[in-house]
């Protein structure tokens, strides 16, 4: 039960963190120039967004939950279990970011999740 709770925590906080990060980047708008100064300016603007800091807090929580899991469970269990993040991420993208996730993209996401699980089971 405790393991299931921590897997849930890793996946949900990690995904919500990445969604907050996406929201922060969408708010600063599309980056068109890629000179070092332009990139630095874009990242500076991103760090002025509250969403960016929320993203860091959520991803840090996910990271520590992952560390807690790794103290009790094998990495060959933890990583495949958290590969569900890709599918949960697509759900979050659809319902929170209002992206259009087509059937092709869903199939791709599910194949990636399955593949990540296999890669770690094969370690």
């Amino acid at each position: 039960m405790r393991t299931a709770f921590f897997v849930f925590l890793v996946v949900t906080t990690g995904t919500l963190g990445e969604i907050s990060l996406t929201h922060a980047m969408k708010r600063i708008g599309e980056v068109h120039q890629f000179t070092p100064m332009a990139v630095l300016r874009a990242m500076g603007r991103a760090f002025q967004q509250g969403w960016m800091w929320l993203a860091f807090a959520l991803m840090a929580l996910s990271f520590f939950a992952m560390l807690e899991l790794l103290t009790r469970e094998d990495v060959s269990f933890v990583i495949p279990a958290t590969a569900a993040s890709y599918a949960v991420g697509a759900l979050g993208a659809k319902f929170l970011l209002h992206e259009q996730v087509s059937r092709t993209r869903w199939l791709g996401v599910l194949l990636v999740s399955f593949g990540v699980a296999l890669v770690w089971l094969g370690k």
Binding site: L21, A42, G92, Q100, R105, V112, L118
Partner: protein
């Protein structure tokens, strides 16, 4: 070059750079940490010495640089591309890391892992066939209608 194809090009270039930085960063971080050696004591002094040797090791610093570059590429991509496009595409690091481990570090890669690599590759290819951004398109369509 139209703005659509320019965006297409920059998406793929940045994606390739992101996957390369992430994979190389992971591999050299692993190599660097092995050179630093295992932590043997957990007293504050021992942890301090360990962290000092980690953060002054050139290979580890190079790896951290590569991983920061990965994060910047990831953020820049998300400024226009869909999260549901970038996230699965970032899994290509799972393809490149075992390949680098096999051919650079000469580690053994099991059959199950190759099967996983195949699935990820196929999945990313499928995601790659979908539009990079859908929220902008919807907005543009709405603007045209309006």
């Amino acid at each position: 070059m139209s703005s659509h194809s320019a965006r297409h090009t920059k998406t793929y270039i940045l994606l390739a750079l992101m996957v390369m930085c992430g994979s190389v960063g992971d591999v050299i971080l692993g190599s660097g940490m092995k050179q630093v050696g295992e932590i043997t004591a957990f007293t504050p002094a021992a942890i301090g010495t360990f962290l000092a040797s980690v953060f002054t090791h050139p290979t580890v610093l190079l790896a951290i640089g590569a991983l920061i570059a990965y994060f910047i590429c990831y953020c820049l991509l998300l400024s226009w591309a869909d999260f549901s496009f970038v996230l699965p595409s970032s899994a290509l690091t799972y393809v490149l890391v075992p390949l680098l481990a096999r051919f650079w570090l000469h580690e053994e890669v099991k059959a199950l892992r190759w099967a996983g690599i195949g699935c990820i590759f196929l999945g990313v290819m499928l995601v790659g066939f979908t539009p990079h951004t859908t929220t902008g398109q919807k907005a543009a369509a709405g603007a045209e209608r309006g």
